[in-house]
């Protein structure tokens, strides 16, 4: 028995290792392929199908990464109740949450199979007698015996085959969720209940009345508070609403496929990988030295340096919270040693964990441009001035505080500055390189991302030798886990959006707004209030996918430029990182600095107020957003 378990464990280890290698390979294939396409084009050669390969690699990375996130139990969640509950209640909650997650994953797997059947060629009629009746009844309406389409990836791989990632990984995620149910007995119970409830549920829930729908929605929200991953919450909501409307749930994976394979999506894993490579190497130490040498002489210099450094990191790692995890531990002692209070330092590092979100190549800006159909480069230009404004505002507050508490100022040492810059020259060049390739015009954004990540990899592995090859695999796996955790939220949130569009809710909202609001300024004010509420309740990724489509027609009705809407939206949602109950930075900071949440709340209040004031400024002075955009050719 013991031996069997051990044997089982080593099997698991081999499987996990294989999974790591495969996912890392998929991830690193993306920048390599994009770079190869760029090099080929410089020689006048077209790599056939490169765009399609990249788009479908993103699909596979999203799902395989989500599988890794399930394995490591690293899905983003809200989970408030679990902080207060007694151990017995917690055990029950854990089992319930893992069961609900498993069920939702299985439903989504089923929906993906329906989609695949609709795209795939017809089965031969002879299969009819071989397949069990319930399977035929379930899948025939989706064209089990009808030809789908002839769409091929790269001219040979049928799209339905590429889509197999969805059901396969949803099933794996369901299994992994069950493994989290607790004791072996709990796992068995959860498995049994999951199977018993999963099979009849679609039949029972299809076309349900609001009488069942709303209690189920409330149940899901309670489960979310008890630790249900965000993707499962959104997936569950999408399933419930589609069922209640009597529509097919295959609409959810259809939307997933559409958004994840959209053309700029490959930039998200690639840029995030660049951020990861930097945060896992000693780049942060070298850059801290640079910024202290450059800014240490001004009042509150180390805090200003911390602000700029965090903003820089966030532009690459996006809204993923990596900044706090990677830099928090490094910067906190530096700030305290320089004489800043504990409270100020924690507040600063918590709030700067998402500063820089508006600056290129931030992935939330990219995502907004996908949702709003605004060219990415336009969005980057639009976010530039407001993004810098937020950094400057926090920087000024750091200087004022530095003067007020009498923080010691270091003398400006030109030699130290040159030395620090020289030591970090390859890394200091990264933002310059990124801006050049993004705006330079010799490549697409995906190729730009590839250039940046390959450069970062070369610098850290070959030049600085911070990442031994063995650690590189680890960096890839961790990055894929994080990217998967984010992309799976987007992938499922778009299903919920698909329901909203199907029910024509954006049009109804725009009509309502047109009838009840009569000035652009009132609209903008209400927009801010609404977005602060959204920011309190939702994470930025789901909000982008679900809320932006509702806002776009309204904003158009009031003559708000989509780029300005995007900047307002992202700036507001950035505040959401710092507002309870769903404030990711608050959780991460509490975890990273080992402080109770209320202490972190209090520490961030002044920063929250400053940022809120800036958000109002950005909202009511559209010129801040539009100036650079209109100046560009």
């Amino acid at each position: 028995m013991v031996n069997a378990e051990k044997g089982g464990r080593s099997w698991f280890r081999i499987l996990h290792r294989t999974e790591d290698v495969v996912v890392s390979f998929l991830l690193v294939a993306m920048p390599l392929l994009a770079a190869a396409e760029l090099v080929a084009r410089l020689f006048g050669v077209v790599l056939p199908g490169a765009i399609e390969y990249l788009q479908h690699l993103t699909l596979w990375i999203a799902f395989c990464g989500a599988g890794l996130a399930s394995r490591a139990d690293q899905h983003l969640r809200i989970s408030i109740l679990e902080r207060f509950n007694a151990p017995r209640v917690q055990r029950f909650a854990m089992a319930a949450v893992s069961m609900i997650t498993a069920m939702i994953c299985l439903f989504l797997a089923g929906a993906s199979i329906q989609l695949i059947v609709s795209e795939a060629p017809s089965l031969p009629e002879t299969a009819r007698s071989l397949l069990p009746g319930f399977l035929i009844a379930w899948l025939e309406p989706y064209g089990l015996f009808e030809a789908g389409s002839l769409t091929l990836v790269g001219g040979w791989l049928p799209v339905w085959a590429a889509e197999l990632a969805m059901p396969l990984l949803f099933v794996l995620m369901a299994l992994r969720s069950i493994l989290r149910a607790g004791s072996v007995r709990a796992r068995w119970i959860v498995s049994a209940v999951t199977i018993l409830m999963t099979i009849p549920a679609p039949f029972l829930l299809s076309g349900v009345s609001n009488f069942i729908l709303w209690p189920a929605v409330v149940g899901l929200i309670i489960a979310a508070l008890a630790g249900l991953p965000i993707f499962a919450l959104l997936g569950g909501l999408a399933l419930l609403f589609f069922w209640a409307a009597g529509e097919t749930v295959a609409a959810i994976p259809a939307e997933t496929y559409r958004i994840v394979t959209s053309s700029v999506f490959p930039t998200i894993p690639i840029f995030t990988l660049a951020g990861f490579i930097l945060s896992e190497s000693n780049a942060s130490e070298r850059l801290v030295r640079v910024f202290r040498a450059c800014f240490g002489w001004i009042p509150g210099g180390s805090a200003v340096a911390a602000t700029i450094l965090c903003a820089f990191f966030t532009t690459f790692t996006g809204a993923s919270g990596v900044t706090i995890l990677a830099l928090g531990g490094l910067l906190l002692p530096v700030l305290i040693k320089d004489g800043f209070s504990d409270r100020f330092s924690i507040g600063l590092l918590t709030s700067t964990g998402s500063l820089g979100l508006l600056l290129p190549p931030s992935l939330v800006v990219i995502l907004y441009s996908v949702m709003a159909h605004v060219p990415v480069t336009d969005m980057f230009l639009a976010g530039m001035v407001p993004g810098i404004l937020l950094v400057v505002a926090i920087g000024l507050y750091c200087m004022v505080t530095g003067v007020r508490v009498g923080v010691e100022r270091t003398k400006f040492e030109p030699r130290e500055m040159v030395g620090a810059l020289w030591a970090a020259k390859w890394e200091v060049a990264i933002p310059v390189l990124a801006l050049t390739v993004i705006f330079g015009g010799f490549c697409t954004l995906v190729q730009a991302a590839a250039v940046v990540v390959l450069y970062a990899l070369f610098v850290e592995v070959v030049i600085y030798r911070d990442l031994p090859p063995k650690k590189v695999l680890n960096v890839f796996t961790q990055c894929a886990t994080l990217v998967g955790g984010v992309l799976i939220i987007l992938a499922v949130a778009i299903g919920l959006t698909g329901y909203l569009v199907d029910a024509q809710i954006p049009d109804l909202a725009a009509e309502w707004a047109r009838a009840h609001i009569d000035s652009k300024w009132v609209f903008l004010l209400l927009l801010n209030v609404a977005l602060i509420i959204v920011g309190c309740l939702m994470d930025i990724f789901s909000a982008l996918v679900v809320v932006v489509p509702i806002l776009l027609p309204m904003a158009e009705a009031f003559g708000v430029h989509p780029a300005h809407l995007g900047v307002i939206f992202l700036a507001n949602l950035q505040l959401g990182y710092l507002t309870p109950p769903v404030g990711m930075n608050l959780f991460l900071a509490s975890f990273r600095f080992k402080r109770p949440l209320p202490e972190v709340y209090r520490a961030t209040v002044p920063f929250l107020l400053i940022l809120a004031a800036m958000v109002l400024l950005i909202t009511f002075v559209p010129a801040l957003t539009m100036w650079l955009l209109e100046k560009a050719p």
Binding site: I51, S149, T151, A254, F442, A632
Partner: protein
């Protein structure tokens, strides 16, 4: 209860194509006494054409107004109608559709779709940074190509062009940064997406037509009480027919509006048109006949075209 037919299109609200669909909704309501409602998702809110077709396959959408380019993945032969440099005028296109349309409709019916009417989105013209009067002028510019259809990109390369395969969302930024210099698009699209702003030369050469169809899943169509179907189909065909003239008008309006904003229109000489045609015919057609559409169907298209041309030459005389 009333039956709601959900139809998606990429035509934006306020465009003649969407107005026609709204009109169709009213007519269907009248014909059926409110038993059939048409719910329209305009402006691509339900996704681009591949996404619309995907949603029709799973049954989330029932109908769509799509270009025939989007249908190539369903019935490959349909590409023979729009193969570049064959059909030259709206009248020729109408005559060809009248003749081979029923064939396509039958092929689609085998895949579970019904066509309720044919109309026109416009002609693909070349827009370029530097003026384009001959094929050579175009060869000197990097030509945007939408997506990564390997056979099509191959065709452009064989013809000596420099295709850059990009997603359509990248067109505007790529024009801005100089990654591409030229693209082919219907004038209406070049205006409404502002693509022409960075490629201010348009050739009058018609590269290929982009016909559109109103498409419905047969499953859904058969849910409509039989007594209404004939009238509803007639209404849809009438509405579609009415769009031909409107699309031509709008195309001219779009060109005029672009000219006001600095577009230069370069008339393509007959010799240039013939040069393009020979080039496509000799170097592209054999590949497409082998890989894309069936030779017999292409023959049919050509026969219909020849017949129309000889008839109209006759009546001209």
């Amino acid at each position: 209860a009333a039956q709601t037919i959900k139809l998606a299109s990429i035509a934006p609200e306020g465009s003649p194509w969407n107005d026609a669909l709204v009109d169709l909704g009213h007519r269907w309501k009248e014909i059926t006494g409110g038993k059939v409602k048409l719910r329209i998702y305009p402006g691509g809110v339900a996704g681009d054409e591949p996404a619309m077709l995907r949603k029709m396959r799973i049954g989330q959408l029932h109908a769509g107004a799509v270009t025939t380019l989007g249908l190539i993945s369903v019935v490959p032969d349909i590409e023979a109608i729009t193969f570049p440099m064959q059909i030259r005028t709206d009248e020729e296109l109408q005559a060809v559709i009248k003749s081979v349309g029923p064939d396509i409709e039958e092929q689609l019916s085998e895949k579970g779709y019904k066509i309720l009417g044919w109309s026109m989105a416009g002609w693909m013209h070349f827009f370029s940074r530097n003026k384009m009067e001959t094929a050579e002028d175009l060869r000197k510019q990097k030509l945007f190509f939408w997506g990564s259809d390997t056979v099509y990109v191959g065709l452009l390369q064989t013809l000596g062009f420099q295709p850059v395969a990009l997603p359509v969302t990248d067109l505007l930024p790529s024009l801005q940064t100089g990654l591409v210099d030229a693209f082919a698009a219907p004038p209406v699209a070049a205006l409404s997406f502002q693509w022409f702003g960075l490629a201010k030369n348009m050739s009058t050469l018609r590269w290929q037509p982009t016909p559109t169809v109103i498409l419905i899943r047969e499953k859904e169509w058969h849910k409509v009480p039989e007594k209404f179907r004939a009238d509803m189909e007639a209404a849809a065909r009438e509405v579609s027919d009415g769009l031909w003239a409107k699309s031509r008008e709008l195309e001219q309006q779009s060109i005029d509006a672009m000219v006001e904003h600095g577009l230069q229109v370069h008339p393509a000489a007959d010799s240039v048109r013939d040069e393009f045609q020979t080039m496509v015919q000799e170097q592209g057609l054999p590949v497409f006949l082998k890989k894309r559409f069936s030779p017999p169907f292409f023959e049919k298209v050509q026969a219909a075209l020849a017949e129309y041309r000889s008839e109209s030459a006759h009546s001209d005389r």
